[in-house]
Symmetry: C2
């Protein structure tokens, strides 16, 4: 690995992971990089600081699902090139694994980096994250339904291995989906506490995919709207309300096994330890919402705005009491409130792990901000999302939101060192 690693197009075809075979135990060390052995990493980054937080890439599950939600997101959905082969898909997943494992450890995308290699060649790494620490970067890969089969063609020879759970989402009441924000054969979720680090990851992975896959749509998110750790404060969405109060937390092993991780007993064994990701771009009509009376905002959400306590009383973490009534005999929490309709009690116990982000993407010609929630949820089957979303068809909040993007992906289990994400699909 002391020799130059050629630029992405060539690099990809050669099968980077193959080159690594000479090294012991997976990711090997280049002259320009730090040493990566298992989950131990040595880089120039200040790993003592929060910015220096480094999450292991390899493991039973992919990182970026139960990892404490980082502050920033860059998400991209990809389509394979029309002429791409099964071999291209495998080499792409291998190259992405190699690069992701490096970048999440705070390293350049390859050992020759942004300024190494031959000066007469383009650098492997695009360079804008030079000098920045890992910033808690996680990179999570997913496989869309039509990777397995598109227009009746099984291009990659994997149609027979498509998990039955990997359905195409039905159209929901009020969906106003645009193709430019929907679907995709592959996805990459990059989360980091520094947006430049997340952008650098997507950019370099997109570059590595050149000729094999290209970005179909993408989304930046700037403010997490959930938490996956009890230590994280509950953030607020752009309606000004706390969001993600009742999320499934990383230490809730039983809850994760029941609701998030695909069990080993499933029909598609290669997905055991994986999950399913639903991504929904939800535009929020914030200017309209902002003109709604406070009591009405709270009625719609079912919680008070200041503390996030259910309107049945208590504090943020008090369980809502949907039977409690006020002096007029009406329930304190409206039956059409968001908290009621999304609650496990009215959805047969169904829960999902949310991991969404706020976004603002410019403005309309009318001067309103193009703002909303980029909803991300992980569940052991997309059916869980479908059940809750159908229940939300009568949600009083629907008047103020528009679902404009939708996608679903099978998220394979984590890779073991020396292998790559999705390897089980081709075994």
């Amino acid at each position: 690995m002391s020799e130059h690693v050629s630029p992405p197009a060539g690099l990809s075809r050669r099968g980077l992971l193959g080159l690594l075979g000479a090294g012991a135990g997976g990711i090997v060390v280049g002259a320009a990089g730090g040493a990566v052995v298992g989950t131990t990493v040595a880089t120039a980054a200040d790993s003592g600081s929060a910015a220096g937080t480094v999450h292991p890439f390899f493991g039973a599950h992919q990182a970026g699902i139960t990892t404490p939600v980082q502050d920033h997101l860059h998400f991209a959905a990809f389509d394979m090139a029309d002429d791409a082969t099964r071999e291209d898909l495998i080499s792409l997943l291998q190259d992405w694994t190699y690069a992701a494992a490096r970048m999440t450890q705070g390293l350049d995308v390859s050992a020759s980096g942004a300024v190494g290699g031959r000066p007469e060649a383009p650098p492997d790494d695009t360079g804008e994250a030079l000098g920045l620490p890992a910033s808690a970067l996680t990179i999570t890969f997913g496989l869309g339904p039509d990777l397995f089969e598109r227009d009746g063609v099984d291009r990659f020879g994997i149609a027979a291995r498509r998990p039955a759970d990997l359905i195409v989402l039905p159209k929901f009441l009020g969906d106003d989906l645009v193709p430019a924000a929907s679907g995709g054969q592959l996805c990459i979720q990059a989360c980091a506490d520094d947006p430049q680090v997340a952008v650098h990851a997507i950019r370099n992975l997109s570059r590595i995919g050149f000729g094999r896959a290209k970005i179909r749509w993408s989304q930046l998110g700037f403010g997490r709207t959930s938490k996956t750790s009890a230590a994280q404060a509950t953030p607020r969405n752009l309606f000004g309300f706390k969001d993600g109060t009742a999320n499934i937390l990383a230490d809730d092993t039983a809850g994760l096994d029941e609701h998030v991780w695909v069990p080993a007993s499933g029909a598609a064994g290669w997905m055991a330890g994986g999950s399913y990701l639903v991504a929904r771009r939800i535009s929020q009509l914030i200017e309209t919402w902002d003109r709604v009376r406070l009591v009405e905002q709270e009625r719609i959400v079912g919680r008070d705005k200041a503390q996030g306590a259910p309107l049945s009383g208590g504090d943020e973490f008090t369980a809502p009491d949907f039977s409690k009534t006020d002096a007029t005999g009406a329930t304190s929490i409206d039956a059409r409130s968001h908290v009621h309709l999304a609650h496990p009690d009215v959805n047969g116990g169904t829960r999902i792990l949310r991991r969404g982000y706020n976004f603002v993407d410019g403005n309309s010609v009318l001067g309103s901000l193009d703002a909303g929630l980029f909803f991300l949820s992980y569940q052991r089957s997309p059916e869980q999302f479908v059940r809750i979303q159908k229940k939300l068809s009568t949600d009083a909040m629907n008047e103020y939101v528009r679902h404009v993007g939708s996608a679903v992906f099978a998220v394979p289990p984590g890779a073991t060192e020396g292998s790559y994400v999705g390897a089980g699909l081709f075994a």
Copy 2:
């Protein structure tokens, strides 16, 4: 101020600043807010941490120019409503000043806040920054050329007070401007270390302007590309190079007086202590750039990629030696390099204070990222920018960038407590 402050539309017409007259010394204290007296502030924010950094709003100059560049930007250009009057413009600037002074101190947009006031009314504050510290927020206001006169109409009675320096920028070679990212009668630059705080500021100021002004275009930026303090590390742009190495720093009083602040001796006396802002949305063809050889990238920039040292030798902060030649007799720094053409030595000593941000706004249908630099520069006259930009017409970097947005604004001096930004224009 213990009474409810009515929602923005009504609030604006009543002239918030007028309501404040009862309080001593400008910004007064509401029950829901912290006490703001001069530059001393008491809030729930952890002002000991970086996130709790609070910058004074009032002063000789507006904050957000020499303030250490924060990590995030939300910028918006506004046009006044067609039927807006001089009185509307004045009340808008007053209301914006009131709200900006509060928000920069980590307070809600008004004393009644996001959950105060009457529950039967919409909250004054939209709420998504509840519980977040000031995060070093600065809010900087500017006035565009056609605020003074548009289509020959002097709607606001200020045409005669237009500074001669406030020109409309000429068309530069290679400009490919779109109206949706150009111009504007007013602008607001909100910078903060937390993007949710910057977005909250623009959203609430836009809301306050409802009926009087609306957003014409806007831009989020996620990574600063300059520094204004020697303590800040030089950041990198999306070409992977350090940017802003030779910027004018906040402690360079002489440099600021010479290049940035409008002198008291100028013809438009109300601008003394102010500055002029140029905003340019510059798309970077990053996928194309990424395929350029390292030596060629460095030749185009004129600096090495790793350290940012000029190609004539030394380290990042060594002055470039444009006369130095290599073994072939060619100058070490190409005459068409960016560092050469932008240098004060070839521009009659002209300097500007840069304050730009990287951006990524989704992707094209071809799968390339819509990425670039949102260039912001402050100078005592837009002529400084014009001179440098004309010189850059032969910049070798032009092959990889497209200027798609352009705007210029007069940035009034800072407001004194009890007054408002731009007051001098109406005196």
